[in-house]
């Protein structure tokens, strides 16, 4: 997965985002609306908790028997006329897709939004070999036209409001209708007209999948706009890049996941369109179908008993919409295609904690637990975060807070050193603001105040007061 070049640690990126009042207004507006709607859609099913527990059990069972189910999926996709490829990492997946596009003799491909190909940076890899990639999801189109980055799993352009999108379309879309306003239906119509020709002439389609059913070899793509149906139906060649954790044992399991996913993500009883296909159907849709099964760090995640539960994720994005940190910091601060609470546990597991951004992600949470509560597959995100924090701290001997704590141990062991430290601390009053809090201390103590305020020390410590008023001298 790409770590965006030069990505600063979460606190630095978040600080910049929090200062952007337009971004915060856009995020608050969108997440507040969807939170209310989701709660209503979920409340409509009185057995929501039971569905959630069933989903968790199915996913855990699948992960515990992952090899068996992947082999079964491969057999059934192949039997239905599809071709199955395996990719250890992003580069291998991109190379397989690039090669298939070349074999199809195409110089462009239409693409329906997929997290797996975001993760592998497929578009950049294909562009490098001269293949034009056309993102067809409205939000992805907004991101692509604006040379921007996605900031939300479901709605990658959530950080843009209608006025910004209208301005972008008028500026970058050469076939934008004259007099195009900021009205969302007009913007959607402009996107329809803009992409129509591409759909009708496309020879290669690229997708991900929400689910892959082992016992029938069926792939499932859940969407709204119909761009998915276009990409999955009209081209001659279809290539689907799918993470190995997307497999479900049986057709029957869709009754659970199709109940959970739409209500959790767009707060609908059902999303407008779902396409399900098994291999190739003569005379209907692509006659050349390729499934690329992607590892890219998933087997490492699987090996971690606590962290493994992140692989249950069905990418609904409910955890983003309820997260107080996401709402304020926005998706870009997470430095990964997977933002929000799920990103904070998934990215460091898929990529390791070597970079500053990945080492900081487990701390990008107040551990309030709202994400766990809304998760349709009951991923205990706070539990994984806490464990990952411990791992980061162990891996970084000089972690600033570690220095603070070892220093305080040294001071507290000696009454003489404590008294001296308290006299020095009283001087801290000089840097306090009128609020009675210290917002920023000089380095190295800034490590503490970067993420929290420090209380102002009293003018005199209790020990000093005692010595003066009740001490041995009196």
């Amino acid at each position: 997965m790409p770590t965006y070049l030069g990505m600063p640690a979460f606190p630095d990126a978040a600080k910049r985002a929090v200062a952007d009042s337009q971004l915060r207004r856009n995020l608050t507006h969108a997440t507040t609306a969807i939170r209310t709607k989701r709660a209503k859609a979920v409340a409509e099913l009185d057995d929501w908790e039971q569905l959630r527990q069933a989903a968790k059990a199915i996913k855990d069972h699948t992960l515990a028997n992952l090899g068996t189910y992947l082999i079964r999926l491969e057999e059934n996709v192949t039997r239905a006329g599809g071709h199955v490829h395996w990719a250890r990492d992003a580069a291998e997946a991109n190379a397989i897709v690039a090669n298939l596009v070349r074999q199809a003799g195409a110089d462009k491909a239409v693409k329906v939004k997929s997290m797996a190909t975001q993760e592998t940076g497929l578009n950049e890899a294909l562009e490098a070999q001269g293949t034009t990639v056309i993102e067809t999801d409205l939000a992805e189109l907004i991101v692509q036209l604006g040379d921007d980055r996605p900031s939300h799993i479901l709605v990658p352009a959530i950080h843009r409001n209608r006025a910004e999108i209208g301005e972008l379309f008028r500026r970058t879309m050469d076939d934008a209708p004259p007099g195009l306003t900021d009205d969302p239906p007009q913007l959607a119509a402009a996107a329809r007209a803009h992409l129509r020709h591409e759909f009708l002439t496309a020879r290669v389609g690229i997708s991900g999948a929400n689910f892959a059913v082992a016992d029938t070899g069926s792939l499932v793509v859940v969407e709204s706009e119909g761009n998915g149906r276009m990409c999955l139906t009209l081209p001659d060649t279809l290539i689907s890049v799918v993470g190995i954790e997307k497999v479900l044992p049986s057709w029957r399991d869709l009754e659970v996941f199709l109940a959970l996913l739409p209500r959790s993500s767009t707060a609908e009883r059902m999303n407008p369109y779902t396409t399900i296909w098994s291999g190739v159907t003569p005379g209907d849709g692509p006659q050349d179908f390729h499934l690329v099964l992607l590892d890219n760090g998933r087997t490492d995640t699987l090996a971690d008993r606590t962290g493994r539960q992140a692989l249950r994720c069905i990418r609904c994005s409910a955890c983003l919409n309820v997260c107080p940190v996401y709402e304020r910091a926005g998706g870009h601060a997470y430095g990964s295609p997977y933002p929000g609470p799920i990103g904070a546990i998934l990215s460091p597991q898929l990529r390791g904690v070597d970079s500053p951004i990945d080492a900081s992600l487990p701390f990008a949470s107040s551990l309030c637990g709202a994400c766990y509560e809304v998760c349709p597959v009951a991923i205990n995100i706070p539990e994984v975060l806490v464990e990952q924090r411990a791992r980061v701290v162990e891996s970084q001997k000089h972690y600033p807070e570690r220095i603070v704590f070892s220093a305080s141990g040294y001071v507290l062991r000696s009454p003489r050193r404590l008294a001296a430290a308290q006299r020095v601390a009283s001087l801290g009053r000089l840097v306090a603001g009128r609020s009675g809090r210290i917002r920023r201390l000089p380095p190295p103590l800034s490590a503490w105040t970067d993420t929290r305020d420090a209380p102002v020390p009293p003018p005199e410590s209790f020990r000093a007061w005692w010595a003066r008023n009740r001490g041995a001298g009196r």
Binding site: Q53, P185, E225, R229, L234, E268
Partner: protein
């Protein structure tokens, strides 16, 4: 390439430990707890066809319910303003009996190109199953439904649902399908929530969905 397959499977074995025999895995799967309800409405107690109509209309589809023998008249009225409609093989002939002569009927034979389909105003089909709980229509693209492109490219889709095709809930509907076939689940006209997370109808799929319930 096979190197990648073997390596990924080996890494999975390392992560999950002992691999159970397929029969044991299947037995463990069969024993998984499924405490949820397979239907949220009892078809014998509730009018699930009415529920389907109500919920499909929530998505801003046009929904009509007529007695079975009035289907031809309702089909004719629904497509009356369209210059052309494509009709798939296997559509019950009677459904088109009331059509005005000025509506051009197009057959998908030989198969129409995407560009040709784009010049046709509408499509009339049946469906495989419908789901009351979610207001969803499911096409399995069998007789009377056409290949997938037929119900995708034209901007108007009239779908006739027979009352007996309405299942109470998702589980029942899925159980009626043949997984080997391609399927399209349709819940209202094409829509997007990509601008400010607000649902707007009408993007790439048919912008007009007309559901005619017969019976």
């Amino acid at each position: 390439m096979s190197g990648a397959r073997e390596e990924i499977l080996a890494r999975i074995r390392l992560a999950t430990g002992e691999v159970a025999a397929p029969e044991e895995t299947d037995a463990a799967y069969a024993a998984l707890p499924r405490p949820y309800r397979r239907a949220h409405h009892d078809p014998s107690a509730a009018d699930i066809v009415a529920l389907f109509a109500e919920r499909a209309a929530d998505y801003r589809a046009v929904v009509e319910r007529v007695p079975e023998d009035e289907v031809p008249g309702a089909v004719a009225a629904a497509v009356d303003s369209l210059p052309s409609v494509v009709v798939p093989d296997g559509l019950p002939g009677g459904w088109l009996a009331g059509l005005q002569p000025d509506v051009r009927l197009v057959r998908d034979e030989p198969p129409l190109s995407a560009a040709e389909l784009d010049r046709i105003a509408g499509v009339v089909t049946g469906c495989a199953v419908a789901i009351a709980e979610t207001g969803t229509i499911i096409l399995d693209h069998g007789p009377g439904q056409g290949r997938r492109a037929l119900t995708l490219v034209p901007d108007f889709h009239l779908v006739v649902v027979r009352a007996g095709q309405v299942a109470a809930d998702i589980a029942d509907a899925l159980a009626r399908l043949d997984p080997a076939r391609p399927h399209t689940l349709i819940s209202g006209p094409s829509a997007t929530s990509d601008i400010e997370l607000i649902r707007v109808e009408g993007v790439h799929g048919p912008r007009n969905l007309h559901i005619l319930i017969g019976g």
